[in-house]
């Protein structure tokens, strides 16, 4: 064989031309740059709220749970309410990334990243409340089945233990899922970043370079994680609902609870995604990536889940009446017309009635309206849990010891702090990680380009 002609080889050796970056990269990485005064103001607000709550919590540990508004027989209050609320919020992320992934609903690409992020942060926030609400936080490690000198284990029959397992599993899996999806984008960022970000992304991106082996494994992993996360997300909120359904409290003890809670969770989760993404899209001018089309799809989901939730409300009342069990009837009567009627009607209006407006396409595509509605739904869903927990407990079997619970200010501070806790993470996320799954968005672009060239 003869060696190749020298000139042809020489011809090939030329400096590679400077690469032209893709639009998606530029637009989406830009989000992470710098940070306006407003941004830092928000961060300060969030962190402040969290610190205030932390202070109150330390005081509570020192002084005793009595500083909260608990009144016999209502032994669960705002803390558990907020716990369930955040667990609910956590569900949209996994749903969007996992379930829609399995259904090959490509429109998810625009929002799944931020949704997953929310999942992670929401679960972390929720987990705080398990600790905040117990009487002896310093002994709460008893709840873990760890080998100990006492030779004493834990009670796996208790829904609270199911909770512990479900929440920890959910936190782990959603973090993993979030990160795995992030790796290719981190590589993109790595290739363009400088300074400390360069170092950070180099480490986090694990030397990703999009080779065929990597993509193969990656696709497979995402598929399997989606497959695992889908039943998980359904189980988690079922388990949370069983905290109530497994008890004998009138208004809690209902078979409908698991599906009802899951639907509610997805409902509130989507609402929260909207609440967060609408401003983000506006501020960072991402209209091109997060389009009204995405929002409309989400509002379709809102409509669907709202109908399910509304149906659950109706079913509860029907069963209470139909069962002819006096305590059940009383409990539900008190719910609607008793001391807590305001909460109940807030819940019914915000979750059951207002979302029906989404039947109109005009409103589905009206972003400001969606924003307001999503806010209302968040409020409504918090009150849903409040109504279920508090009214259930305040009117039980022994009329002699019915009681009224009203949250005390320390409780409310801590609840507010939980929002700060959640938001600080989300704000941080905006500046550190690509807010949209760039690689996946690009996949669509490239396809489009290819087909644009008429194949």
């Amino acid at each position: 064989m003869t060696p190749p002609p020298a000139e042809s080889v020489a011809a090939m050796i030329r400096p590679t031309p400077v690469t032209r970056d893709s639009k998606a990269n530029r637009d989406l990485l830009r989000v992470m740059e710098g940070g306006s005064l407003g941004y830092f103001a928000l961060v300060a607000l969030a962190v402040g709220a969290m610190l205030a709550a932390g202070g109150v919590w330390i005081w509570q540990v020192y002084e005793g749970l009595g500083i909260a508004g608990y009144a016999h027989p209502v032994f669960w209050g705002a803390y558990i309410v907020t716990f369930v609320f955040w667990v609910g919020i956590a569900h949209a992320g996994t749903l969007i990334s996992a379930i829609l992934y399995l259904f090959r609903a490509k429109w998810r690409n625009a929002i799944n990243r931020s949704a997953e992020a929310m999942t992670v942060f929401a679960v972390l926030t929720a987990a705080q409340f398990l600790g905040i609400h117990v009487g002896r936080i310093w002994k709460s490690y008893f709840i873990l089945p760890y080998p100990n000198q006492r030779a004493l284990w834990v009670n796996f029959k208790s829904p609270l233990l199911w909770d512990t397992f479900a929440i920890t599993t959910y936190a782990t899996i959603s973090i993993v899922f979030f990160y795995v999806g992030l790796v290719p984008d981190l590589a993109i960022a790595r290739d363009r970043a400088t300074g400390w970000r360069k170092v950070l992304y180099t480490i986090l991106s694990l030397g990703w370079q999009g080779t065929s082996k990597q993509w193969k494994a990656h696709n497979r992993t995402v598929l399997h994680l989606s497959g695992l996360a889908t039943p998980l997300v359904l189980s988690v909120h079922s388990v949370v609902s069983w905290d109530f359904a497994m008890s004998i409290v009138p208004g809690w003890h209902a078979t409908i609870f698991a599906p009802y809670f899951v639907a509610g969770a997805i409902f509130s989760g989507f609402a929260m995604v909207l609440t967060m993404m609408i401003p983000v899209r506006r501020i960072f001018a991402l209209e091109e990536y997060i389009t009204d089309y995405h929002f409309e799809n989400m509002s379709r989901f809102l409509l669907l889940t709202s109908i399910i939730v509304g149906y659950a409300y109706a079913a509860e009342y029907f069963i209470a009446w139909y069962s002819q069990v006096e305590p059940e009837q009383t409990s539900f009567w008190k719910r609607a017309f008793g001391p807590y009627w305001i909460s109940t009607w807030v819940m019914i209006l915000c979750n059951g009635v207002f979302p029906q407006l989404l039947w109109f396409k005009k409103l589905r595509t009206n972003v400001p309206f969606l924003f307001v509605l999503s806010m209302l739904i968040n409020v409504g869903m918090w009150f849903e849990r409040y109504v279920i927990i508090i009214t259930g407990l305040s009117r039980e079997y022994d009329p002699a010891v019915w009681g009224i619970y009203t949250p005390s200010w320390p409780e409310l501070v801590i609840v507010a702090g939980s929002f700060g806790f959640f938001c600080q993470f989300f704000l941080l996320f905006l500046k550190v990680f690509p807010v949209v799954a760039i690689a996946e968005v690009k996949e669509l672009e490239i396809h489009a380009k290819a087909h644009g060239e008429g194949h």
Partner: protein
């Protein structure tokens, strides 16, 4: 006070004596038999006297001088040694307000545990003997025993009608209700939990650790340790047996 001081540093004191003895023997050889006053050892208390006698007995070359007032049989040598050992800060266990030696009482003289710790068989609590009980015996003992600091302290308490504040060694948490009588009735020796007290001059918490299959230790008086024994002997594992 000197005697007390000497007795307290008894081990050092003895080794010093031995050294002195050897030195004398090395230098003076045979002539040490009529050693001069300089190398004569003088006892400052009955307890020292006991030690010097013992020394002289095993080494005729050492010349010891026992003043008349210290040439007594009481307190006995055992008493002196126990008393000294009971206040040895280097031995395990906390120092008690009185140099009381369980070895001396329960070991040497084989006094039954329940003679002092009465009620163990009928009551949940094991009684701590009253000063009166101690005095019951110690009143009858010869005056010489007052040379021991412990005895003097005891009598001071008795005069002042002041209870003695012992250091507690075997202590369970507040939420444990222990029934001594149940365990005594079941025929367990005190040693099962309290260790071989009759061999201790100064009582301390003996080491007794069980290992669970999952590789964790449970130390004496910890819950796992109790449970282990309860399982071994088919005793109740009802939480209410101990916690209420």
């Amino acid at each position: 006070m000197r005697s007390i001081h000497l007795t307290r540093s008894l081990p050092a004191f003895l080794s010093a004596l031995a050294a002195a003895g050897l030195l004398a023997w090395a230098i003076l050889g045979e002539s040490a038999s009529h050693a001069d006053v300089g190398s004569t050892l003088v006892a400052g208390s009955v307890c020292e006297a006991h030690e010097l006698k013992a020394l002289a007995a095993e080494d005729p070359h050492v010349s010891v001088e026992i003043p008349k007032e210290f040439d007594k049989s009481f307190p006995t040598r055992e008493a002196c040694l126990s008393h000294a050992a009971a206040e040895d800060p280097d031995s395990p266990g906390p120092l008690q307000p009185i140099q009381f030696s369980h070895k001396h009482h329960a070991g040497t003289y084989e006094i039954d545990c329940q003679y002092c710790h009465s009620g163990t068989d009928v009551s949940p609590a094991a009684g701590v003997p009253s000063v009166e009980l101690c005095m019951g015996c110690h009143n009858q003992f010869p005056k010489e025993y007052d040379q021991l600091e412990g005895i003097r302290t005891l009598k001071e308490h008795w005069e002042a009608k002041e209870p003695i504040q012992w250091e507690q060694i075997h202590r369970l948490p507040e939420h444990v209700q222990f029934q001594h009588r149940a365990h005594v009735r079941a025929g367990f020796d005190c040693q099962r939990c309290h260790g071989a007290v009759e061999t201790m001059d100064k009582v301390y918490l003996t080491e007794d650790t069980i290992w669970w299959p999952w590789g964790l230790p449970s130390k004496k008086l910890e819950m796992g340790w109790c449970i282990d024994c309860h399982r071994e002997n088919g005793a109740s594992q009802d939480c209410y047996a101990c916690h209420y």
